[in-house]
Symmetry: D3
Subunit: 280 residues, 6 copies
Amino acid sequence: MTDSNLDRPAAQKPFRRLLLTGAAGNLGKQLRGALAAWADVVRVTDIAPLGDVAAHEEASIVDLADEAAVHALLEGVDAVVHLGGISVEAPFEDLLDANIRGLYNLYSAAQKQGVKRIVYASSNHAVGFHPTTSVVDIDAPLRPDSLYGVTKCFGESLSRYYFDRFGLETVCLRIGSSFEQPKNPRMLVTYLSFRDFIELVRCSLFTNRVGHAIVYGVSDNRTKWVDNTRAAFLGFHPQDSSIEFEHLFPVTAPTAELDDPTQHFQGGPFVLAGPMEPKR
Amino acid sequence: MTDSNLDRPAAQKPFRRLLLTGAAGNLGKQLRGALAAWADVVRVTDIAPLGDVAAHEEASIVDLADEAAVHALLEGVDAVVHLGGISVEAPFEDLLDANIRGLYNLYSAAQKQGVKRIVYASSNHAVGFHPTTSVVDIDAPLRPDSLYGVTKCFGESLSRYYFDRFGLETVCLRIGSSFEQPKNPRMLVTYLSFRDFIELVRCSLFTNRVGHAIVYGVSDNRTKWVDNTRAAFLGFHPQDSSIEFEHLFPVTAPTAELDDPTQHFQGGPFVLAGPMEPKR
Amino acid sequence: MTDSNLDRPAAQKPFRRLLLTGAAGNLGKQLRGALAAWADVVRVTDIAPLGDVAAHEEASIVDLADEAAVHALLEGVDAVVHLGGISVEAPFEDLLDANIRGLYNLYSAAQKQGVKRIVYASSNHAVGFHPTTSVVDIDAPLRPDSLYGVTKCFGESLSRYYFDRFGLETVCLRIGSSFEQPKNPRMLVTYLSFRDFIELVRCSLFTNRVGHAIVYGVSDNRTKWVDNTRAAFLGFHPQDSSIEFEHLFPVTAPTAELDDPTQHFQGGPFVLAGPMEPKR
Amino acid sequence: MTDSNLDRPAAQKPFRRLLLTGAAGNLGKQLRGALAAWADVVRVTDIAPLGDVAAHEEASIVDLADEAAVHALLEGVDAVVHLGGISVEAPFEDLLDANIRGLYNLYSAAQKQGVKRIVYASSNHAVGFHPTTSVVDIDAPLRPDSLYGVTKCFGESLSRYYFDRFGLETVCLRIGSSFEQPKNPRMLVTYLSFRDFIELVRCSLFTNRVGHAIVYGVSDNRTKWVDNTRAAFLGFHPQDSSIEFEHLFPVTAPTAELDDPTQHFQGGPFVLAGPMEPKR
Amino acid sequence: MTDSNLDRPAAQKPFRRLLLTGAAGNLGKQLRGALAAWADVVRVTDIAPLGDVAAHEEASIVDLADEAAVHALLEGVDAVVHLGGISVEAPFEDLLDANIRGLYNLYSAAQKQGVKRIVYASSNHAVGFHPTTSVVDIDAPLRPDSLYGVTKCFGESLSRYYFDRFGLETVCLRIGSSFEQPKNPRMLVTYLSFRDFIELVRCSLFTNRVGHAIVYGVSDNRTKWVDNTRAAFLGFHPQDSSIEFEHLFPVTAPTAELDDPTQHFQGGPFVLAGPMEPKR
Amino acid sequence: MTDSNLDRPAAQKPFRRLLLTGAAGNLGKQLRGALAAWADVVRVTDIAPLGDVAAHEEASIVDLADEAAVHALLEGVDAVVHLGGISVEAPFEDLLDANIRGLYNLYSAAQKQGVKRIVYASSNHAVGFHPTTSVVDIDAPLRPDSLYGVTKCFGESLSRYYFDRFGLETVCLRIGSSFEQPKNPRMLVTYLSFRDFIELVRCSLFTNRVGHAIVYGVSDNRTKWVDNTRAAFLGFHPQDSSIEFEHLFPVTAPTAELDDPTQHFQGGPFVLAGPMEPKR
């Protein structure tokens, strides 16, 4: 970014160039269109095919573990929405490449290229071993529920370092369950509508200063396991709620399986998912 | 409970058998009807007459201080809503029988009968000696405002023990003032509508895991002395408010009686009510 | 106040006599009319002209630094809304007279005259050196952003002393930006509508007991830097929001001026405003 | 106490009359002699024989469940050290008489007789279900590990009420394991030497103001599960340590019984001791 | 300070020039000699006579309310130990000149002259309305017990502002009772030996970074009302204790005067000392 | 571990087999001898030569990044002291192999082999971006000061996961500066004597239950940046202090370099050390 925003004509959009990683994924597809309104150029990337490329878009297939490619990817970028990497439990070597090495490459390149801010898809699985009988705020101790969750903790620590060391800002989104609709009773609690997800990214990109922030990505559901009070400086107000989906899951008495750990911890099935054996 | 919920036909209700104590009391009458939707069988009990008994109900007059009767009462019960006992200041020996011995009998029997959960009518009088110029959350130190309040603290401790020791779950409802409408200005703050009370019990019965929980039972009144943020995992959202009753109490300047303790503490008149002399 | 409120006919208003200082100022003008409904007599004062005086009003021009005049001013007053003094950064000697000596005179006189409560216009500038990436509650450490802010901290300490020593109650209103509408993007966060300001004063005057309270005066804006949870006993619920004014400020990317302290701290431009040289 | 301390000759001891309950018990025997230095008259009581009665002593056998006897016992008493009642797990009815009804009788009588302060033998078993991998301070939530522990919670609540209601001060001593020497490895952590116990009572009696205080009674042992920082106003500094007894217990690797709850919780064997069946 | 410390010969002392205000006062006299070891030049000032002036000293009589004189006083100074001003309750106008206007002059001049650090004699009277049954840490809310205490709160706020605004560091010493020996039982708790006082100043001057720090100045007395845990970065370890003076005050039972506020609050007699009438 | 400790003759040592990684390093050399007293067999490993192997030792050169070798290394091991890996800032790929992949291999193997506990050499650099004007306790938020520090955060998260998921206990030692003596003024604060280091490991191995614990490894130095109060259940009491080394560093005024970040943050020079370029 060699010339300042101020030199550009007023008709231009707020950001000159935004980078979206993981653009071919579940949430990437949702967000991709919204970014058009916020940036003159939207650079989209994934390791999977990216489909049609719009006039305002730059598309490239990049493996985040490829250091040189990532450095090229970050050139000329104002800010990043980083949805790339693996978002479920996986063998450690896969997570190492995608979520650890890949993330380091992203931050290293971003710092060198003068990127100002990264919106980072962390996860509620960074704190999934907190019990379902508690409410965690943004200062709660890390309690990853899976190796995947451990890599999200890594991302939060790495981004904290880049902020404290270089002033590179990050908002860590501890995203719950963002799908068309909740798939099971637990997701009534962790549901984040696509619309609320996009609003959360918008707040994260446009709030004047964010420092190194952590915020839970959940809609205004009836039951809450998280508390965003201390992230209120981001101005995120979910508009949706899982209440409209409650009818999908018949009312039942508390399950008889009192010892089932997937019921005891906020992470749900993730707490039993790992570690996974490598695929050979 | 010898067979599991899963063995029952889908047409059955969530609970097989719920026990409601204090069913003839002010709140018991409100709740009794609602339970019909939640359980195949509703067992109702009180020391006072129980009125007409519906087809889905089992009714019995039981003194909670009668250990053997209480053990019989808990047989075959899935969960309990315990509204029984004394709910105002009273001579200590009366409180001892109803709220201490009676409660021990209830928990002892429930544990032996394999009951899974008890919804326990605690009271805001367990913390009534907190000043009206403070807001207490669910972790606030106990400050009972009466011997009655002390017995509610006992109940919270006893139920905590049964959870830590045996896994028997309890939700302690620190109920405010649940009447048709507020009877004085203080109740504008502590008012809990009957509808919100029933919803609070519903949340307490159907939340998948509750552990040993504490929650304040107040409607969405304008002035708040309590903060349920950390009980948000119960999903309780009051629908009513005392705002509609504010017109009943004319606006006045703060009372001239600056030393009146009933104005200084959340417990109101309870702080001066006890200890009471025994009735002889 | 030699006779009690109870001796007065029911037709009278809640307060017999309220004193409003700073009545000719920005907020004083807004509030002056509202007080008519709350008190039989409204005594208004300022160092600037007070305009037309209504039938229920007593008006006088008083310099708060004039000890004798202030003592006369407080005679027969039930409660005070103190908006007087300087509300922006100014040379220290000016602040000393208006906000320190003047405030002492007010409290000294109020205590001697038996005034029961003072609603004190403190300011968010008492905590303006907290970063914009944080949310401060009412217990947050003082971080004044200007000499003006330091004098507001003085006012909070002085009023605390008068409460602990004499029981004279105060509500410290940490008022944000109360204008017709926000004048810049920062004020979208700190905006307090006139209507909400008046409601905040109403709550502060009519809540039965307030002790020594602190509360933030902001409307229900989208972005929040403050948290009034522990002041909920005051019953303040803002009805307005700056959302309706967001269109006034075009959406932009975060400013390029990453080192600009007016963007980093809640106090905004105040953090660079002082200390000011005396006017000579 | 009809005449003031100031009326007495200087040669007299600090207290005119102290009452020691449980005087025939393990700790009562230790303390009884020390009290001679602190009070002109030491009234000792127990349900067990009290042995030789010294010239400065008044001895009486009293069942604390006997209301009239307890009221007589408290006449003319300045302060009480209450070690009476049951100090181990026991059938509920026994605990009810000794630790609940008995304690109520004591406080009811003390309040009526104008007693100024009670030093109450609470117990670490009021918080014994906190894990051994934590350190609890005096504000930690109650976690009784036994019905006995529940009765100690009752005592802390009851005494809080009498302080808030009547100003009757209490120091709750959460006594660990006070024996000649630790009897097992756990007691290396909970050990309170007799000398330190007596010093703790001395601090509790002579500190000018105590309000309603809670303090852990442990010596300066190497491993600590408790933190008295916020009770430092009592001036208690243990002089002894269990270090001298560590040689009694051979160094071992952590036990293989990883699921043994008596190793997981501070209460040790108490967590499995109850509830006990009544003796019939 | 135009040349850096590094340019000076190694034989010189750590500081080139230290300023000591209040040098003729109780504590100033104690400290004055010690400063000789720490600075090439010690500038001493007071409004009272300063006695003999040593070779390494510069002495001047300055009224802190005299702005021009204070600016001259700060020229060429590396760091300040500010003991000047009034250290007891006094009429407000006197406090205003000495502790408010005087302190502003000091900070204003220090900032302009490039002073790096001020060690500021605050007082435990800034928090003296905390009860004697509590322990306050350095983050405890301000609770001044006198107008004098209010001016100390002012000093803590003003110095915080100068640190946040200009990076001028301050250590606020909340000094207890620093005399040859305790003069009453309360001072057994608040006693600070002269030796410990000097050590506290030494730590405050030589710790590499202090930012804006608060620390309680008390010796290692038996009873503690304050907790310096979070000020441990200053490295202050008192060597003395009031234990050696306990024999001066005979052991007594808690005073009968249960309503005496000087016994209830840490500030002792200060809580009743003010406000004082002006001397005329 | 197929047979229990209880089956072994009393003459045997507490542990049957301990594994020490990093045995050829600075701290490994110190600890290696001490382990002889605690285990029948001490298995030592490093990537560097291990010198003479004692009769009770098993030695092997293993690269922790070699999964199969690590699994073999953990066979038959009761507990591990893990000092291996890189302990300074290094290029990311080196840290990735040694501190991330290597650590995962260690935990994965330990879990499969039934190891009960790991003592993990974390570092104060996991929190090195906390300012030197603060005191951090064991719950302080992670603030890594280097990529090295980020990998230590990873280790704390990974070990937390293995405890929550499998019950494998870990004590994370946030070791300061453990050398023969402090090498610079900062190390006067962070110094951990070799003797205290060994004692810290001893406590970590022999405390009956540790769960997932964090503790700072510093001696009893004069200045403290860390607070182990909540780790007191480990029983660690340092015997040494850097006070004896203070004479090595001449007393100086605070450095003139007020903007030097290595002076502002606890991590010292680490805060500027990274990220390092890879060695090629």
